[in-house]
Symmetry: C3
Subunit: 147 residues, 3 copies
């Protein structure tokens, strides 16, 4: 994982975070957010992965249903956000669209992404933090704009 | 619908707009853009929906062909923009990629999205407005950078 | 191709670049980046195409495998970045998710996109440049955050 500060003004920073072959995307984002103390940020990326774990939130069981991806895929879209979780740590939420060899697409909540050869991430910090609160109905920690 | 101003400088504001179970995404975006008088903005979001109406613009008939989505889906990508329509009101244009239970993806123009449990939207305002003009060939109101 | 400067502050500019029927997206982005001397930028877009060339990077052969798209499609997501290539020229890297008539999605690296009727692109410049370096293993020029 390499990073570069692209812009800074009024407490708002923009970073490029460049992942390399073998890096795991969610762990790297977690580490970077903790190191830079990001409590509110927007994330976008493109690149490619050698394998991934997507997931689908099953509303009936209130659990994530795993969707393993055991092949090289293009990261056609990665969009996410960083907030402060109920435990006070950065909480990273990322969704991705992956393109297969034949051009068909897979999409879902990203749990793991094993980079090969690159993932080019842009993170735009917000000076105001986003806070997550446990939602009793879904059991998930969701962003609340009231906090 | 909850919202939070994340950043403001030089006439440019960034908002988090957080939708909750039962909110309809396009109506909420329309309401928020009218309330905040947004005439030029970029929109991204992730979250999940209990159902949606996507559409495909059919170039032969010059009409949107409906693609109903009657199942819980992840919003893997939502990208859009806000401009001033020919009637002077905010015109919201949103495309989305939706992930199904098995990880397959649906994609198109978003007409309706019924949120469950959350849709985390980031709106970045531009101090310069974008204006739409009716395009005679397609019959659509399209952004013109000349106005 | 039309363009409009939406915001400028601290050496960071945001542009709307609006493509019209018949424009080819990658050539227009290349021309625009050269004209505005963009050496670090983030790109997002939505719109529609009459045809496209997607590609998948085959890790075995280290070559892009073409995925021709010979039909009208919605550009449900387009995300990319602009860096300085090893030759000193702007290097444009774009991935896209395309929605077909029946709502199914195609995804991959965008090599060509023939616009119909519009492609609404937002380009956010970074005052700090991103530089590409040839990666010996993949043979690709990849962004390095160390340069």
């Amino acid at each position: 994982m390499q990073s570069k500060l692209l812009h800074e003004a009024d407490g708002k920073r923009t970073f490029a975070v460049i992942l390399q072959k073998g890096d795991e995307a969610m762990r790297c984002l977690q580490e970077f957010a903790a190191k830079e103390r990001l409590g509110g940020a927007q994330v976008t990326a493109i690149g490619a992965l050698s394998s991934a774990k997507l997931a689908f939130f099953d509303w009936e069981t209130k659990q994530y249903r795993p969707i393993p991806v055991e092949e090289q895929v293009e990261v056609a879209s990665l969009i996410g956000d960083i907030a402060v979780g109920p435990d006070g740590m950065p909480s990273i939420h990322v969704h991705a669209v992956l393109g297969r060899r034949d051009g068909t697409a897979l999409a879902g909540h990203l749990q793991e992404g094993h980079v090969r050869p690159t993932l080019e991430i842009i993170i735009t910090e917000s000076p105001v933090h986003l806070c997550k609160v446990k939602d009793p109905e879904s059991g998930l920690a969701l962003i609340s704009a009231r906090k």
